[in-house]
Symmetry: C2
Subunit: 420 residues, 2 copies
């Protein structure tokens, strides 16, 4: 039997690892809870009705259709026994049976989950944005709030319906706040008869003293100005102290809001606790220089789920880092099989970019710093180029072009007769 490589997670890291083994003499089993690879950086566009789920998601089976040494399996990984080299799985479809899978190499690439800082009761009122399901839930909430406001007779309630609070000033929070502000200022305005959606209020709450904390100070300032241009009410240095059905409390002030979205904090999935290895405070697996676990050279953790120290800081939880780690792990396994020395992992930082809205973005790459239209065009170009398949690229390009000229949003559907 050729060595069995089990990959947990079909995100950027796991998929890169599986693909990197295409010509290796191994059997690969790729396990994921959903049947698709998700282009997570554009998930906020599904949540804000600009794109459809299938524009940014592609079935893992079809991505790996031609790579005959990979099998894809829809299942949840429950436990890892690093000593016995076994993973315990539970099937998702059907009868939820459990099963034990033996491996020669294991690649843990399951990403992170939203964390409500121990206030799990906030989850129901302030959903996070990690999966397609989350994005569709958020989309429904935003669309439903405007629908209800249009016909609401009570003024205070109407103001509450037209108030949107986003908690967390990282890239996702900024993107969500910017996109909701644009919808309110442009897209929905001509569609309403009884309200002016431009009267909506979008509040972005950030506990630290600036948004997009990983950027240089001048770019952070630019991002703040761009948010202000979209009339986003940015509250810095003030965590949300309470979140409930009525809205949020920030710095002692209650803000009544029907829609509260959560983009602050993450934690590793509980499976990391079954490893018996050292974790950081967020539950992420602390890995060695080659992304393997101490004492377990055949067990790798890559992407957001790993804690990879580089000097005084950590490698960020971004798609490029996960991709490079996935490729690296494949090369390590190939090196092992050929009884060669494993390559050294070195992440080359290509920079970072965040988008705030139409012609509003910031980017930083080495000494280059951009803000505004140019940064936004760079953002558009790069995101189109890295979208998984040719087909999706074309469709997304068309939808964006259409949205640019029409200010329309293509996916404004409410299909659940939800009792809210």
């Amino acid at each position: 039997m050729v060595p069995h490589v089990v990959v947990l997670g079909g995100g950027f890291g796991g998929l890169a690892a599986a693909k990197g083994l295409a010509r290796a003499d191994v059997r690969v089993t790729l396990i994921d809870r959903s049947n698709h690879h998700l282009f997570q950086p554009l998930l906020y566009q599904v949540a804000t009705a600009a794109l459809a789920p299938s524009d940014i998601a592609e079935p893992l089976r079809s991505i790996l259709s031609k790579q005959k040494n990979v099998r894809v399996r829809l299942a949840e990984a429950l436990r890892i026994d690093a000593d016995q080299k076994q993973v315990q799985l539970q099937t998702i479809l059907g009868d939820n049976t459990q099963e034990t899978l033996s491996y020669d190499y294991l690649v843990v690439a399951m990403g992170v989950q939203q964390s409500w800082f121990g206030r799990d009761d906030w989850e129901a009122v302030a959903p996070g944005l990690k999966s397609i399901r989350d994005a569709l839930d958020i989309r429904r909430r935003i669309l439903a709030a405007f629908e209800q406001a249009e016909w609401c007779q009570d003024e205070a309630e109407r103001r509450r319906l037209m108030t949107f609070v986003v908690v967390g000033g990282g890239p996702t929070g900024v993107e969500l706040a910017g996109a909701i502000a644009e919808i309110a200022l442009h897209t929905f305005r001509t569609d309403s008869r009884n309200i002016d959606t431009a009267d909506s209020r979008v509040v972005l709450v950030e506990a630290s003293d600036s948004v997009l904390g990983t950027y240089p100070a001048d770019l952070r300032q630019k991002a703040l100005e761009q948010l202000h241009e979209l009339k986003v009410d940015v509250r810095l240095g003030t965590p949300a102290s309470e979140v409930d059905e009525a809205g949020v409390i920030i710095d002692g002030e209650r803000i009544n809001a029907k829609t509260v979205l959560w983009a602050a904090g993450m934690k590793a999935p509980a499976i990391t606790q079954t490893l018996g290895t050292e974790l950081d405070r967020a539950g992420r697996i602390i890995v060695q220089a080659d992304t393997s676990l101490p004492g377990h050279p055949n067990l790798f953790a890559i992407g957001d789920i790993c804690h990879y120290a580089k000097g005084d800081s950590l490698l960020p939880g971004t798609a490029p880092v996960a991709l490079d780690m996935g490729k690296h792990v494949a090369q390590c396994i190939i090196a092992d099989l050929g009884q060669k020395k494993r390559p050294t992992f070195a992440y080359f930082d290509k920079g970072q970019m965040a988008t705030i809205g139409r012609r509003r973005a910031i980017m930083q790459s080495g000494p280059i710093k951009l803000a505004g239209t140019l940064a936004w065009l760079a953002w558009l170009f790069i995101h189109l180029m890295v979208l998984v398949t040719y087909r999706n690229r074309l469709l997304v390009f068309m939808k964006w072009s259409w949205a640019w000229f029409s200010y329309e949003r293509a996916s404004r559907l409410i299909w659940q007769p939800d009792t809210d």
Copy 2:
């Protein structure tokens, strides 16, 4: 106050009526349970993963964005009081409050629902295809069945997972059966490792003695041949006598099938019973020559929900009929307001067409009868042309072109970790 026209339903009929009143001096309120107009003839393509929901649905608000005399409202119509000229509504979002709306004209255009012939317990195991929600449910069932089959160890159970039964040999049933057969024969074949999806079995059950009963005999025969080419097992003259978790019983024979889809039978929504007017056996409203109700010249029923006798037969429940009726009603109201005589309604039958698969279709228009590639091309062309907006038309054209060359299906997503 200008006259108030209330339109119940934003399908082909209701939307045509609302649009037909664009230049009339009336206030229009369009009520629908969902926020979008749905291009129902292509719904089976969402159910079989070829198109995304937003490709065939468009928000009513954005369709009517420029028509300032229309207001759109998301609500469920519960009761109609024809004497008091009132409709009782229940809001769908928020607190489900009830409200009474007065009208000067009422247009009932709510379509029909699936009917399980009194066996409502069959609904859970054999879902119908009427809404986006239904389509996504069916899509999940089909994809999940193949996912489960890929990893199933038990041969009998694997055969059950790979058996698909479609009950009902009308256009929807034929389209579903054909599309599932194509997926099995082509799309999924290269994606599986442990099974050959071409071994799947698709059974189409029809109680009458032929599929597509409204077509001439020679075209029906062609359709049957095309289904056989796709290896669809067509069972004619045999109703399903039992449907349960294990499968179906047809003509005394039990067919074990994980996936059973229902495309047989329809009934009008219960609201028709509140009218106090004559209904047919399916609960449809029997209307007069001008589509108004006897004794209620200001109350119209159009589209699938109405029973419109023409000679010995009924006008069919199709989009073209609903569209023409909607336009006609708008003209009647305008005539009334100008104190002119209402125009006569005359439906010009443009023909009918049904698709079975790639290059497989039949069509009939007056003396013209086509089958095969030419009918299929005509079907493609006509469906693209009547898609609601320019944007959707382009997107769908691109997706279909891609699917043609690649045999791919663009929307193969399972995003619910459903316990099935």
